[in-house]
Amino acid sequence: MPFVTPRTLQKDYDVIVVGSGAGGGQTAYTLAMEGVKVLMLEAGRNYDIAAETPMFQTYADAPLRGAGTPDKPFGFYDATIDGGWAVPGEPYTSASKEEGRQFEWWRARMLGGRTNHWGRIALRNGPYDFKPHTRDGLGFDWPIGYEDLAPYYDKVEMLIGVYGSNEGLENTPDSPDGCLLPPPAARVGERLVQQRGATLGVPVVPIHRAVLTRPLDHKTIPAKLHPGNERAQRILSADMQARAACFWATPCSRGCSIRATYQSTAVHLPPALASGALDIVCNAMAYEVVTDKAGKATGVRFVDKTNGQHELVTGRVVVLAASACESVRILLNSKSAQFPHGVANSSGKLGRYVMDTVGSDLGGQIPLLENLPPHNEDGAGGSHLYAPWWLYQQQAKGQMNFARGYHIELGTGRRMPSMGTAAELEWLNGGTYGRQLKVDARRYYGSFAYFSGRGEMIPNEQSYCEIDPTVKDKWGIPVLRFHWQWSEHETRQAAHMQKTFAEIIEAMGGRVQGKAELDGRNAIAAGGSIIHEVGGAIMGSDPQRSVTNAFCQTWDVKNLFITDGAPFASNADKNPTLTIMALAWRAADHIAERLRRKEL
């Protein structure tokens, strides 16, 4: 009976996992496949990807032709349920009214969390990314290096399925043979960016995304992932066969009913449930980690959202993976005589060093791509190529005015027409109507190229979250208050993105839409808006200056772990999801081993 209610809960769970996304999903998967009895608490509702995913609906089927609204900010068909920048009844606050000092917090209240709508971009951190302080004196080193996490990156890639290629580029790790699936053929616009980017020294190569470009090798991978565990191998092999390869249609952000992309609900939870070792309670809004006199975690309190009842579940180990800021919120709200400032906060660092990704976008229109013969450019439902950061040498020589790098994500192609496809053409045609507008729409369709810079933010003392002294959510749980400030490293990086994108657009013979914003303070997207927030409970080697150790285990409470993005000690330009999963797998291995040795 995998989906349970507070009434049907068992009493003897080994591990309670809060959250069902990338971190919670991976933690529960690893533990359950090893036979560890896990209870997962998910704040949102259950979600059936097979029945609920809009796979072939066109925008004409949707209200408002699918355009975004405050209820569905990324468009009607975005997979997010009960989420967004504002979740009804679940406010958060900002300490400052000043522009540029706001943090926007995207949440999803559903099984699988934000993995249902994510971009599927799955990049490994490189060796430099774990030792940034050693390299340039800024931020913090991780207590682990790339070599510690590499075996887990291998395992995660094999489990979830990631397409990409090995290019041997600096600080952009290659994967061992057998980890990656073949990348899809590049679209014509992406090829043009590649061709013209090369003239500027910008390397454009296959991106890594968690999409099955062919079925997973169900015969050999399970034995590599679960050596000596035949039951786990059998379960995983069967589940891998139940996942279809991509059929080259419909955007991944809608979710994928055939399970061709990674979503926790498509990859982690089905085999974990099949193991019989995982129970899940949905609509369980966790708010407190309960501790005993000895300072050990004994359980988690949550609100059953179906009836407003407060419940307590107990277990030998507690793992928080509620998303970086939500996990921090739970810990800060877990106050007792023994932990007056919240559990795991003896360092005073809980909530500190929240980081997002530096984001800045620019688009252009490319005459070479006008009026092309119709052809299918749906592809793998997202980018096929990207540009990893390429100016490490210039940075090392002190030629750059900011410290860390960014990668470039591309948007091109003859996508399914949406509200924006033939809108706002005035900047190109001066404002036409009638037959001429139809001629213009055909001409410009598919001739645009969009560039999104995604860069590293350095942790700083001014960017953190804490408990708001007065505001509570609809269940009476105190909410988070955010403090935010970019440093010049980030704003200058954003300006560099704009300059670079304009150069690439011009090198493609195109015209920039609007103009490149060279004032970085205006070019940078608001904090939180890239939805890569990490930190808040950073890992380190010094209990005075960090919240967890290298195994995501809190220094203060030995049987309490955090396996979402909160333990990140830095936020490399690489999208955090793959690293969250690799860290979670490593932490879960550690938990399983310690449980076996009866040390937890």
């Binding site: 009607f76 014509v188 061709q195 080259w248 092309l372 013969p373 052809h375 404002g431 037959r435 507008l437």
Partner: protein, 208 residues
């Protein structure tokens, strides 16, 4: 300043003249509808008017329909936006309870009133009853980027640009509109082969 005031006065007068033709004219429904919420059914097909009450009066609907046909007329590739009922989609759009849509409603409802008032002033008829030539005469004055900064037509030009975007959005998301643009995706296939050699040749890229 005087020009600006005159422009806005004219805009308001246009809206104010509407009730003479249509008593229910520019009236904005007071009932506050709610949106579709944060957990709508994503796999069903929705119809205009299903989620919130529509706004247009019969006169506004006629004006919007004719304007849709003027902005996207039928040609050898596809029907007109009016034939595809895009005006009904625009009604759905301006009737939605979200802040941007509420703003659009004010602009569109006033703009449609202006179209009728302007047609009435020039041709003594509501816009929907004017000839194609007369319709073009009005639209030519407000369709361009330049019109947006003209003292006389700034606000109507702003309306026209928005109405055009909504018309194009409604039209090109329809099956006929998608076909017109040459969209050929949203269909499952065994392989993804990338761009045809012909396409790469046009753009000047060597095949892999």
């Amino acid at each position: 300043m005087p020009m600006q005031r005159r422009e806005s006065l004219q805009w308001m007068l246009a809206a104010a003249t509407l009730p003479a033709w249509s008593p229910t004219g520019a009236a904005v429904p007071k009932a506050r509808a709610t949106g579709y919420g944060t957990d709508p059914n994503l796999v069903k097909t929705y119809r205009a008017g299903e989620l919130w009450p529509l706004t247009f009066s019969e006169r506004q609907r006629r004006c919007a329909e004719v304007l849709c046909a003027v902005i996207i007329p039928a040609d050898e590739h596809s029907p007109s936006a009016a034939e595809l009922q895009v005006h009904q989609f625009i009604d759905e759009w301006v009737s939605a309870p979200y802040p941007d849509h509420v703003k659009d409603k004010a602009l569109i409802v006033q703009g449609l009133a202006w179209m009728d008032a302007e047609a009435g002033r020039r041709f003594r008829k509501p816009f929907a009853e004017t000839s194609a030539e007369q319709q073009h005469a009005v639209c030519d004055d407000i369709c361009s980027v330049a019109a947006k900064t003209s003292p006389r037509f700034a606000r109507p030009a702003q309306f026209f640009a928005r109405f055009r975007d909504l018309t194009a959005g409604g039209f090109y998301t329809s099956p006929q509109g998608m076909k017109d643009l040459g969209f050929v995706g949203n269909t499952p296939s065994e392989t993804f082969d990338g761009p045809p050699a012909e396409v790469l040749k046009i753009v000047g890229i060597r095949p892999v």
